[in-house]
């Protein structure tokens, strides 16, 4: 159920126009709450940029279940933060880091982004499992 729902909403174009509100901000950027998505036509990668603090900008790409397995489970208290009743309605994305490695763009599997597309709400879900990779090799750096 969750897999099918996730894959049907994973096109970046679908989220590129309206602002999203992150009630908790993002770790290290807790004052930044309102974000817009910028799509530059590069695969499935979008830029999530704070409207108030443009220096808070992150590259995101949809959670890929074929590579990463099932989408994470969002704790109930965090579901209420983004007004989610049904977890299959969450769009999951991972934060990419193009600066940490010369050869690879890495993905942070320990703190993915959960989006409620309907309510335009978002949350960075920090997961306690220490075995989850913070710098998973996602893709080769563009040449």
């Amino acid at each position: 159920m969750a897999a099918a729902a996730t894959k049907t909403v994973m096109k970046p174009e679908a989220i590129s126009n309206e602002a999203f509100f992150f009630p908790q901000g993002l770790a290290g950027f807790s004052d930044a709450h309102e974000f817009g998505f910028i799509y530059e036509g590069h695969g499935d990668i979008v830029c999530l940029q704070s409207i108030d603090s443009p220096e808070a900008a992150f590259l995101l790409t949809p959670w890929d279940e074929e590579r990463l397995g099932h989408v994470p489970k969002l704790p109930n208290e965090q579901c209420s933060c983004i007004s989610i009743d049904d977890q299959s309605h969450i769009m999951w994305m991972v934060v990419l880091n193009p600066f940490a490695d010369k050869e690879w763009v890495t993905a942070n599997l320990r703190a993915p982004i959960a989006l409620n597309l309907e309510a335009r709400l978002g949350l960075q879900c920090i997961r306690a499992d220490s075995e989850l990779e913070i710098r998973y090799r996602w893709m080769k750096q563009p040449s």
């Binding site: 009630p23 908790q24 901000g25 993002l26 770790a27 290290g28 950027f29 807790s30 910028i38 530059e40 036509g41 590069h42 695969g43 499935d44 990668i45 830029c47 940029q49 443009p54 220096e55 808070a56 900008a57 992150f58 590259l59 790409t61 590579r67 208290e77 965090q78 209420s80 933060c81 934060v95 990419l96 880091n97 193009p98 600066f99 940490a100 690879w104 942070n108 320990r110 703190a111 960075q124 920090i126 306690a128 913070i134 710098r135 090799r137 996602w138 893709m139 080769k140 563009p142 040449s143």
Partner: protein, 85 residues
């Protein structure tokens, strides 16, 4: 730093909207606490939060959008470069 002594079941309140409840003490070393806070207040284990904070600082910034624009101009795509692990 404010230091309080509390027994199991006793509560600490912060503002009108945050409650910290002492649940249990295991082996005299591990304390289980419950935290009730509004949904817009992030509550995390500090050592994990610090790691994510550092990674966000490394991954984020004005350079992220520039990187994306540069990558788009290169004409490559994430699908073409996928790691097949």
């Amino acid at each position: 730093m404010l230091i309080l002594r509390r027994k199991i079941g006793q509560v600490i309140t912060i503002n009108d909207n945050i409650r910290i409840i002492i649940q249990d003490v295991q082996n005299e070393h591990i304390v289980r606490i419950g935290i009730e806070a509004p949904p817009d207040i992030p509550v995390h284990r500090m050592e994990i939060y610090n790691i994510i904070q550092q990674e966000n600082a490394s991954a984020g910034g004005a350079g992220a959008l520039n990187w994306l624009k540069g990558a788009s101009n290169d004409g490559s795509s994430s699908d073409e470069n996928s790691d097949e692990t």
